[in-house]
């Protein structure tokens, strides 16, 4: 007679078989049987967060920095609804998460029981798939399928809702035999013809550009290596979206910096003027394209993506290639090497005018800002942070707002998986819990959350988690007392009516750090900044770093809403000359 396991035990058996080492969670009535079983499974470590949203973002940080799926375990009702923001965030940014929720016992479902909510109904639009387990005999299969769905194709969050009575019931446990394909869904649908067409376009292009995104990160570290190889083999310029930063070294000459709303002048103008755009793992998001009717009007567009529904969604492309970036790039490189030896040399002349043009755009130095000796400029703070941490293979998370854009512009990433930020959903409060998750995945590494004082207050309670598990995360707050990006938009679009964007009663972050049992450091002048940053880096405990920065600084360059790539605002002077009027004002 085979051994019988309870539902709660099966949950952990599945996690073990999926090689899960950490779960982020918060106990409650409907998951107590699972929590009771935790003690019997030593290979799985539970990280107790302070709010379920924190569990979700921590799992996201864990997943994005390690390439493994993040797992969270929360209770029914409020536990599940609190996790919704993190699930939606993961859905938008394609992060593999497995969320296990407790549910009221099956006989109480639908009776408005205590802490009951329609979890699968609520999370249906923000997960790749979700399951309500109604029969103990389905549990193991559903759990394993959940991991498969979360991690295959375009990754994303999934949710398994387990009623309390199912957690107690017993059955046999079978390990999972992977079925061939889930309902015939396959992910590599490209042919050699696609690749030949791509090579054809590459060899004809006079003004080419690579435009790469988070899909390269999701395809694994090998994809980034192949990307570098391809970029060097072609000699083409490359720009990256917010999520793709790090796949190509930021300090390389072929890298034009980030593109989009706060991208560099050279990247956006190159996108506008190119004759061949090769999109690798990005999705023509509205922050990237600007005005869609005038987006890169003269180019042939190639789109390489694992998700067929990303193709032709926002921008019509000439050559779609559906497949995993790793395999598409492998085939492309193989074909390129075979048909065009020493392509970068033989092609150099053909694209030399293009590079000259790019150099001219570059010479505008669009990321420059006006320095100051009295106040710390936020850009300066990030530059110093970068200079002082660049040899330490740091992992950077951010919240959402001006500081996030400055971090993307001024912190130079050279490796994938080092940059965790909420791009699609734009979730303020993402960075601190994400840093917790990153530090769990990489205990020995330096993890810094570049934060704004408004964002960080949204999930500040997770400092308590960091202290409990001795996670020496560094919360680097650029404190300008404003919701900076809101203030910037009000300045540009609403006649400086700073409606509710100033936080009048901020806490003392240094005292707050002490109250949490970690270390608080404050920097007030540019002069002391370096010393304070070094002090932070030398502290082997969690640190909240309160960096008081210029309150009026705006984030430039900027494509004003409703404008195409070639009409950027480069700085404060431009802002007066190119006032945003008419339709542009209605845009976000």
């Amino acid at each position: 007679m085979p051994k019988l396991y309870s539902g709660a035990e099966i949950v952990f058996k599945c996690l073990e078989d999926q090689n899960v080492s950490h779960i982020f969670g918060y106990p409650g009535g409907a998951v107590l049987p699972i929590y009771d079983e935790l003690k019997n499974f030593n290979s799985i470590k539970h990280i107790l967060v302070r709010h379920e949203q924190g569990a979700g973002h921590a799992a996201e940080g864990y997943a994005r920095s390690s390439g493994k799926p993040g797992v969270l375990l929360v209770t029914s009702g409020p536990g599940a609804t609190n996790a919704v923001t993190a699930l939606t965030d993961a859905y938008m940014d394609s992060v593999p998460l497995v969320c296990i929720t407790g549910q009221v016992p099956t006989h109480l479902i639908g009776t408005d029981a205590f802490q009951e909510c329609d979890t699968t109904g609520i999370t249906r639009p923000c997960t790749k798939h979700n399951w309500l387990v109604k029969d103990i005999n389905d549990l193991a299969e559903i759990m394993h399928k959940a991991f498969e769905v979360a991690t295959t194709g375009r990754p994303g969050p999934v949710l398994v809702d387990i009623p309390k009575d199912i957690q107690f019931q017993k059955t046999k446990y079978k390990n999972y035999q992977k079925v061939k394909k889930l309902n015939g869904k396959s992910h590599d649908n490209f042919s050699q013809k696609n690749i030949d067409d791509l090579i054809g376009l590459i060899s004809k292009a006079k003004k080419p550009i690579f435009y790469t995104g988070g899909g390269v990160v999701n395809s694994g570290p090998k994809a980034s290596e192949l990307l570098r190889e391809l970029v060097y083999a072609t000699g083409f310029p490359i720009t990256s979206t917010l999520q793709g930063l790090g796949c190509f070294p930021a300090d390389d000459n072929q890298f034009l910096g980030m593109l989009g709303m706060h991208g560099t002048y050279e990247a956006n103008n190159a996108m506008y003027s190119c004759d061949l755009m090769i999109n690798i793992g990005a999705r023509f998001d509205d922050r990237i394209t600007g005005k869609i009717d005038e987006f890169s009007p003269k180019s042939k567009k190639v789109h390489i993506d694992i998700d067929p529904s990303s193709i032709n969604k926002n921008v019509k492309v000439d050559l779609p290639i559906v497949g995993d970036i790793k395999s598409v790039l492998t085939s492309t490189l193989k074909t390129l090497k075979k048909s065009k030896k020493n392509f970068s040399k033989s092609n150099k002349h053909q694209i030399s005018n293009w590079w000259e043009k790019i150099q001219r755009w570059r010479s505008k130095r669009s990321l420059d800002y006006i320095g100051s000796e009295e106040t710390i400029k936020p850009q300066y703070a990030i530059e110093r942070l970068y200079e002082l941490t660049k040899d330490r293979d740091a992992y950077i998370t951010t919240e959402v707002g001006q500081h996030q854009m400055w971090a993307a512009q001024h912190y130079k990433f050279n490796k994938p998986n080092r940059w965790m930020t909420s791009g699609g959903l734009g979730t303020m409060g993402y960075g601190l819990p994400a840093a917790v998750g990153v530090q769990i995945a990489h205990p020995k590494k330096l993890v810094v959350d570049i934060a704004g004082e408004a964002s960080v207050l949204m999930t500040m309670q997770e400092m308590s988690t960091a202290v409990q598990y001795n996670l020496p995360i560094k919360i680097f707050i650029l404190n300008n007392e404003y919701m900076g990006m809101v203030r910037q938009w009000q300045e540009l679009l609403h006649d400086k009516n700073y409606s509710e964007s100033y936080t009048a009663a901020l806490p003392d972050f240094v005292k707050m750090a002490e109250a949490y049992g970690c270390v608080g450091i404050r920097a007030k002048t540019p002069e002391e900044l370096d010393d304070k940053i070094i002090e932070m880096l030398n502290t082997d405990r969690p640190v909240i770093f309160d960096c008081l920065v210029d309150k009026q600084e705006n984030c430039f360059p900027m494509i004003p809403s409703g404008k195409p790539h070639n009409q950027m605002l480069l700085g404060p002077k431009d802002q007066k000359e190119k006032k945003i009027t008419g339709k542009g004002r209605t845009l976000v």
């Binding site: 639009p125 509205d286 067929p308 019509k316 976000v588």
Partner: protein, 182 residues
């Protein structure tokens, strides 16, 4: 402000809308219809009519037939988004004008009237395979199968014969000839 419709971008040129019939084969499991319908409402696609029933009792496959309108780009997105859903096996798409596909809807008409009018009503339905399902001295229920616009027209024209209630299904579709959609 002239255009407050979208907060994110100025709407580009409007393309022409076509009517399409989308057929989706899905695992018949709890919530699957909500997933399909939720995808339509969540992404702002239109549903003109919908018909769903299990067609394979052994493998528990349901067939959902959705009539929708959209630009070619939207129709493509609908198909691709549907294919991403885990319980979806395959998706077929037909233009309403497609001569190779049969579309039918069924309607039940209830008439309350005198005998003369009831006979006229049945007579008016004769082109649409009428079946009298129930009859009393004062009333009758007639079933017809026809195209959407024919039923629309009929339900308008039949009021004069004492039509008091209409119940109708969404469209179902089948290809002509020996080909089967794979």
């Amino acid at each position: 402000m002239a255009n407050l419709k979208s907060a994110y971008s100025i709407a580009g040129k409007k393309q022409k809308n076509d009517t399409h019939i989308i057929v989706v084969w899905v695992d018949n499991e709890a919530g699957v219809l909500a997933r399909v319908v939720g995808l339509f409402s969540g992404r702002g696609y239109n549903i003109e009519s919908l018909a769903v029933a299990e067609v394979d009792q052994k493998q528990n496959i349901s067939r959902i037939t959705i009539v929708t309108t959209g630009t070619p780009q939207v129709i493509d997105q609908i198909k691709l988004q549907l294919k991403k859903l885990v319980p979806v096996h395959k998706v077929a798409d037909f233009k309403r004008e497609d001569k190779n596909v049969i579309f039918k809807e069924m309607a039940l008409f209830k008439f309350v009237a005198n005998n003369k009018k009831l006979i006229s009503a049945l007579n008016a339905c004769r082109n649409y395979n009428p079946v009298v399902l129930d009859q009393t001295k004062k009333s009758q229920v007639i079933q017809i199968t026809a195209l959407r616009r024919e039923i629309d027209k009929m339900s308008k024209n039949l009021t004069k014969f004492g039509l008091v209630s209409v119940s109708r299904t969404g469209a179902v579709a089948m290809t002509r000839g020996s080909d089967v959609f794979k």
